[in-house]
Symmetry: C2
Subunit: 389 residues, 2 copies
C-alpha cells in the first residue's frame, strides 16, 4: 500500500515534470501558464485524495481536509510547485506529492483528525520571475513588503493573507540538495534549522603592472592577496564559499591590480556566523595591510537563521527512529518556504536523500524506496501530532 504510494508519487513527479514553459527542459515560474497547468494537474490529484481544492490570490494551490471538530486549527503540509530554469523534477514537487499521498493513506485508513490539514503547493519559492523569493508563502503569511509589491505586476497577491491564528504548524518534505544523507547512507534526515546567511562582496585593490618587468618583491598583486583570502575562507570553521572571482581588465601578461570576489557564509547559529564573518574581515584586513593592498568589504545581504520547532522536530525524529533508521539531524543551508511560514507558526522539515546531492539540475534523482520512507514518516508524523498533548 505504502510501496504503491511511493510509486504513485514517482509517476506524478514524472507527469508534473512534463509541464513547462520551455520545451525540452523543466521551467515553471511564478504566475506563468505552466504554473496554472501544474496547479490544475496537482489539484486533480488532491481532489482524488478527497481534499477541497482552491487556488488563492497568490496562485498557491491549497487542498483542505477539514476536521470534524468545530473550531479546529489547521496544520499545513507542503512545499512549492515553481522551479528554477532547467530544473530537476524533485525540488519542490516531492514535498507537495508526498503530502498528498500521506493524507490519502490516512483518509483511506479512515483516520479522523482533531485538526484540519491543508496541503499547499506554493507558487514562488525560487524567485525566478521577480528575483524575490517566497512570494507565495509570504503572501499567505502576510509578510510581503511594499518593496515586494512595487516589483511585481500581480498586486492582488497581497489578499492571499491568512489569519495566523488559523495555523499551529507547518511541515515540509524536501530533497536535501546536499550529499550528507547519501554519504551516511540514510534515506531521510530531520532538519534542525534553516541556516542564516551573510553575502558579501570583497575587493582587493593593488597595483597593476607588466608581468615581465615588475620584480616579485615590488608587486602589490591583488589576486595573490585574494588567493590567500580564499584559503582563509576555506578554514574559517563555518560553511563559507567564494563562488565568483573577477580580475578587472585581466590579461595573462598583466599583474592583477583589482580583484573582486563574492563571499557566502552560512550557519544555523547566527552568532557563530557573524563571528566568522568578522574574523574573515580581520583576516582580509591583515592580508591587505601586509601586501600593500586596499580592501573594500561590502555586506550585500544578511538573513538570520530560522530554527525548526523543537516539538515538531522531535515528533519527526520519533517517526524516523520507529522505522529503525538512524536519526540524523542536520541544518538546511538552502532557504525554503518554511522560512516564510516561521513568521506565523512553528515549522519543521524532513530532508530526503538525493543522488549526488545534486539539485537545480535535470540530474536530480530520488530513489522510490526513499520516497516510501518519506511518505511513511509524514503519515506517522500526522498521526503522532494528533495524539500529542
Amino acid at each position: 500500500m505504502i510501496s504503491h504510494s511511493a510509486k504513485i508519487v514517482q509517476q506524478r513527479i514524472g507527469a508534473l515534470a512534463k509541464i513547462t514553459e520551455e520545451p525540452g527542459r523543466i521551467t515553471r515560474t511564478f504566475a506563468s501558464p505552466a504554473m496554472r497547468r501544474a496547479n490544475e494537474l496537482v489539484g486533480a490529484w488532491m481532489r482524488a485524495a478527497g481534499l477541497e481544492v482552491r487556488v488563492d490570490a497568490a496562485f498557491n494551490l491549497l487542498g483542505r481536509w477539514n476536521s470534524t471538530q468545530r473550531g479546529a486549527k489547521t496544520f499545513l503540509l507542503g512545499s512549492h510547485l515553481d522551479t528554477v530554469r532547467d530544473a530537476g523534477k524533485y525540488d519542490g514537487p516531492l514535498g507537495v506529492l508526498t503530502a498528498i499521498s500521506a493524507v490519502e493513506l490516512l483518509r483511506e485508513r479512515g483516520v479522523k483528525l482533531p485538526f484540519n490539514v491543508e496541503v499547499v503547493g506554493f507558487s514562488d519559492e525560487e524567485g525566478v520571475r521577480y528575483q524575490t523569493t517566497y512570494l507565495g508563502s509570504r503572501a499567505l503569511a502576510g509578510t510581503l513588503t511594499a518593496a515586494d509589491l512595487a516589483r511585481i505586476e500581480e498586486k492582488q497577491i497581497v489578499t492571499a493573507r491568512r489569519n495566523k491564528n488559523e495555523f499551529f504548524g507547518y511541515a515540509e518534505v524536501h530533497i536535501e540538495q546536499g550529499p550528507v544523507l547519501e554519504k551516511k547512507k540514510i534515506p531521510v534526515g530531520v532538519v534542525t534549522a534553516i541556516a542564516g546567511q551573510s553575502r558579501l562582496r570583497v575587493e582587493f585593490l593593488g597595483v597593476a603592472g607588466h608581468a615581465g618587468t615588475v620584480p616579485m618583491t615590488l608587486r602589490h598583486d591583488a589576486l595573490a592577496g585574494a588567493a590567500e583570502f580564499i584559503l582563509a575562507v576555506e578554514k574559517c570553521g563555518v560553511l563559507a564559499t567564494v563562488g565568483k572571482i573577477e580580475v578587472a581588465n585581466g590579461a595573462s601578461n598583466v599583474i592583477p591590480g583589482n580583484v573582486s570576489l563574492t563571499l557566502d557564509v552560512r550557519d544555523q547559529n547566527d552568532s557563530r556566523r557573524l563571528a566568522a564573518v568578522k574574523a574573515l574581515q580581520i583576516k582580509a584586513q591583515n592580508i591587505a595591510q601586509r601586501r600593500g593592498l586596499r580592501l573594500n568589504w561590502t555586506l550585500v545581504q544578511q538573513t538570520s537563521a530560522v530554527p525548526c520547532d523543537k516539538t515538531l522536530t522531535q515528533i519527526f525524529s520519533q517517526c524516523v527512529a520507529q522505522r529503525g533508521l538512524e536519526v540524523l539531524k542536520l541544518p538546511s543551508g538552502a532557504g525554503h518556504d518554511a522560512v516564510a511560514l516561521s513568521a506565523i507558526c512553528p515549522v519543521a522539515m524532513l530532508f530526503v536523500r538525493c543522488k549526488g546531492g545534486i539539485s537545480h539540475n535535470p540530474a536530480e534523482s530520488v530513489k522510490t524506496s526513499d520516497v516510501r520512507v518519506a511518505v511513511e514518516v509524514l503519515a506517522d508524523f500526522i498521526l503522532r501530532l494528533a495524539k500529542h498533548p
Copy 2:
C-alpha cells in the same frame, strides 16, 4: 649642448605623440596612415641630423650615416615607432630619438667613424595590427615565416631582408617598463638579456555544488585549489604571474567546479625558467590530487631567452660608470626588437628609468635629465665602439 639635445628629444617625443590614428589617444599600428606620417616627421629629423633617409619595404624608417672607410660594416641603433592602442609617448620613440640625437651630437663634433651607423625606426614591435610581433625587425633580419606572411596583407615586406654580413651589432635604448631603476634611484640600466617566457593555461576541475548544502569536508572546490596554486606561483623563485582567472558558470551560491587561469613565467636563464615551470606543474598535481580535483596543464607558448652580447654590454657599462653612475645590470622581462635582431648580429640594450615603472599607458613619463643621460651614454657608446679593437 647635451642638455639641449635632451630637451629636443622631449619636444620631438611630444610632437610625435600627436600623430595617431585615434583622436584623443596615441595609437599607431603597422602600415597605417599614422605610421606613414610618423615616418615622414622622424625622417625629417633624421635628415636634419645629416642622415640619408629611406623607408624600406617593411615600412621601417632608416637613416644612414656612411663611414668614409670603404667596405665598412654597419652598426644599427634604434627602436620602434608603432605603439599599442592608447599608448604612452616613450615606448619605442625614446630609442629612435635618442639615437638620432646621439648621432647628431657626434656629427656636430666632426667625429669620423670606421663603420656606418643606421638609425632605425621599426614599423611593428607591438603587433597590434596582426597579433604577430616584430614584423619590421624580422623582415629586416630575414626571419619572417610563411605563417607570418599568410596572416598579413603586405606580402612585399619580405623583400626588406638585408644581408646579415652588413651588420656587426644593434643597440637599443628603451624605457624600462618596470620600477627597478626608479626604486634604486638610477637613471639608466644595462640589460643583460631579454627573458625567455613560458605561457600556460592551467585548469582545475572539481565538483560544483550548492554553497549552502555541501559540508566543507565533502567539497572539491576548484577555486580553493587554484588559490593554493596562485600562492605557490608567487613563491616559485622566478618572475611568475597569474593574470587571469575564470570560474566557469560562477555564482555567489555555487561551489566552483571549474576554474581556469593563465600562468606567465619569465627568466633570463632558460633552464631556471623550465625548472620553475616543472616544479609548478608538480605542485599543481599535488594540490589536485590532495583535493580530489582534475588538472589540465597546457603549454600555450614558449620563447627562449636572448642574451645580450657581452662585449657590447660591457661597453655600455663602461659608459655608464664613466658618468659616475652605479652600473645596474638587469634583465628585460618584456620583448623588444633586439630579440629579432639577435638572429643576425650581437645586440645590447640600455634601459631608461620611467615614472612608476608604467608603460603601455598614457601615464608613461621620463625625466629630461634621464633622457640626457641616455643620449650621453649612447654617444659615448658609439665612440668607444669605434676605438674598440
